[in-house]
Amino acid sequence: MTIDTITPDEILATPPGDLAIWFFIFAELLAFGVFFVAYAFARAHNVELFDESQRQLDISSGAINTLVLITSSYFMVRAVAAIKQGLSRVCARWIAAAIALGGIFLAIKLVEFHDKFSAGISLSTNTFYMFYLSLTIFHFMHVILGMVILAAVMLKARRGGYSAQNHTDVETGASYWHMVDLLWIILFPLVYVIH
């Protein structure tokens, strides 16, 4: 696999997209990171309860969701690549595909939530489910917010609002979307798999 070597002149001073979104990304990473660690230490106190409740989760839908989000994240990379060449219509199509996959993620999640809520599980059932529902709902809302951002960027891209020289918003939207994917990449194994 050709790992592309970075020539020193290509080093950017700041990450792609608007630096303000990166303040927001780091704040979100901090908040989610504290929740992940809180989950782990809360589990340390009642391992049996966590393992037993964890087994009731639908692991396949969690895995599919991971694949969906990673692919959606990849589509955003292709969208950024497209706009770097000035192909704003192609870029808009890639973003639309990413949003579609985001929609699939939400759908799978809603089915999962429906099963849990109809089984009478709520935030107050037990500590595991409190963490499971808080983390996944908190992430769920981030996916929605991400899709709103991408939709805004897509509409402007479709109208040809971006070009090879001016496409910071596309990179900003992409960076936020990658963060949403990155958080789920940790959330899935932590909550669904490891015990």
Binding site: A27, V34, F35, L123, M130, S134
Partner: protein, 458 residues
């Protein structure tokens, strides 16, 4: 002072400082009642002195916010205030309502006051910080609406800057969340749940927007750094404020009957609440270091920098001290809470008001800054007041730790009163620090009257 109508801010600032003095006097009475229990009993029982102390605090801060708005909105919007006459009318209405309420607290037993003011029709009295009788609460809403109408019209017909927009957001938010003080269900848990929507979403939500806007305005004027940079940082700071502060309300929902998950949400998000205050301190020092002009008003610069630091210390550090659920389990309802309250209110909201007043007052009197000798006096008052609040907070923290150790830990816990007797020393020390604070406040007032050669109006 570029616009005539900015002069309407002057009475607001004067009233603010006058009520501030009243608040401190009643604070000293209460401080003494902590050590000599029957001081001024039954004429002014502790609960009455407390109502006057806390209500004067909030009313004078509101006067300060309104004065600040009447001063900076015309300058930001680059147009005359919509109606200076309306501003003066609401000034007298608000002052009268405040004065009558305080007289009501002091002259009449609270039960009789409640009877006489329609509390049986709509019971909204008897809750901390919201003890005002119904007519006063309605008066506050009317004054707030007229005030907001006045400055919103000014902004609409003038230049819209981020600072005036953020200030309007904060002030409209303040008015909206005050409406929850009219909701008083007979279920205590629901009552407390939405009581915090007025109290917490004020001081850890919309008031921080007002604080940010005022500080940004003063920093632009003092440092001359261009508006784009300062407003950019303002948005990042208040974004972090609401991101952490809204769910941060959860740190009040640990022990009042609300579900257990609030202990996780409240702890995590309120633990992040010091971040915007830290950013505000870095922002303030950064702007002053990169200043493009030497503003003659050194005192206001000191106040602006002090606001950042003390807000971070009082609201941020001392808040974090007891915000995590396992810690709060022991510190809830102890003197630790009182310690945080003092330094947070002073560091964040008292100091930003004093920053605004010490910047705007000379302008309102036709000069860019007070004479150097007056400014030295003002700086003395800054250090006296700030250091005394630090000591009040330290003494109350020590009292709180000892109180928790004696009353809530170990096998043989003491009763409340027994524990209070053991920590009397700290209450004496706190009272002494209170008098130092009063001295600082007197110096602050004196500095406005001190003569000395004066710079021309910049």
């Amino acid at each position: 002072m570029q616009f005539k109508s900015q002069a309407v801010a002057k009475p607001y600032f004067i009233a603010a400082i006058a009520l501030f003095v009243g608040q401190i006097l009643f604070g000293l009475i209460m401080g003494f009642q902590y050590v000599v229990g029957d001081f001024l009993f039954p004429e002014i029982p502790f609960n009455v002195a407390r109502m006057v102390h806390t209500n004067l605090l909030i009313v004078w801060l509101l006067f300060g916010f309104m004065g600040a708005a009447y001063y900076l909105i015309p300058e930001e919007a680059e147009t005359e205030l919509f109606s200076p006459r309306l501003a003066l009318i609401t000034f007298w209405v608000f002052l009268a309502a405040g004065a009558l309420t305080v007289v009501g607290y002091l002259a009449v037993p609270y039960a009789t006051l409640a009877e006489a003011t329609g509390n049986n029709m709509l019971a909204t009295m008897g809750r901390e910080f919201l003890e005002q009788p119904l007519p006063t609460k309605i008066g506050i809403v009317v004054v707030a609406l007229v005030f907001l109408f006045n400055i919103s019209m000014t902004v609409l017909k003038g230049r819209k800057t981020s600072i005036s927009l953020v200030l309007l957001l904060g002030l409209w938010g303040l008015a909206v969340f005050f409406l929850f003080s009219f909701y008083n269900p007979s279920n205590l848990v629901l009552d407390k749940y939405f009581w915090w929507w007025t109290v917490h979403l004020w001081v850890e939500g919309v008031w921080e927007l007002i604080l940010g806007a005022m500080l940004a305005f003063v920093l632009i004027k003092i440092t001359g750094v261009d508006r784009e940079v300062i407003e950019k940082w303002l948005y990042v700071i208040i974004a972090m404020t609401l991101i952490t502060g809204i769910i941060g309300t959860g740190h009040h929902y640990f022990w009042i009957g609300t579900p257990e998950y609030w202990q996780w949400f409240g702890s995590v998000f309120s633990a992040l609440e010091p971040i915007p205050f830290f950013m505000m301190t870095v922002f303030a020092f950064n702007m002053v270091n990169r200043r493009r002009r030497e503003h003659p008003n050194k005192a206001a610069t000191l106040w602006a920098l002090g606001t950042g630091v003390m807000a971070f210390l009082g609201a941020g550090v001392w808040g974090f001290l007891h915000t995590l659920a396992p810690v709060n389990f022991y510190t809830h309802g102890s003197q630790i809470t009182a310690a945080h309250g003092h330094m947070a209110f002073y560091g964040a909201y008292v100091m930003v008001n004093l920053t605004m007043i010490s910047y705007a007052m000379p302008m309102l009197r036709g000069r860019s800054a007070n004479s150097p000798s007056a400014q030295v006096l003002e700086m003395w008052s800054f250090w006296l007041m700030t250091v005394s609040i630090v000591f009040i907070t330290l003494f109350l923290t020590a009292a709180g730790i000892l109180q928790i150790w004696l009353q809530r830990m170990g096998e043989t816990p003491m009763s409340f009163m027994a524990a209070q007797d053991q920590i009397m020393l700290f209450y004496w020390l706190r009272e002494a620090a209170g008098f130092v604070f009063l001295l600082g406040l007197v110096l602050y007032i004196w500095s406005f009257f001190k003569k000395g050669e004066v710079q021309t109006a910049a």
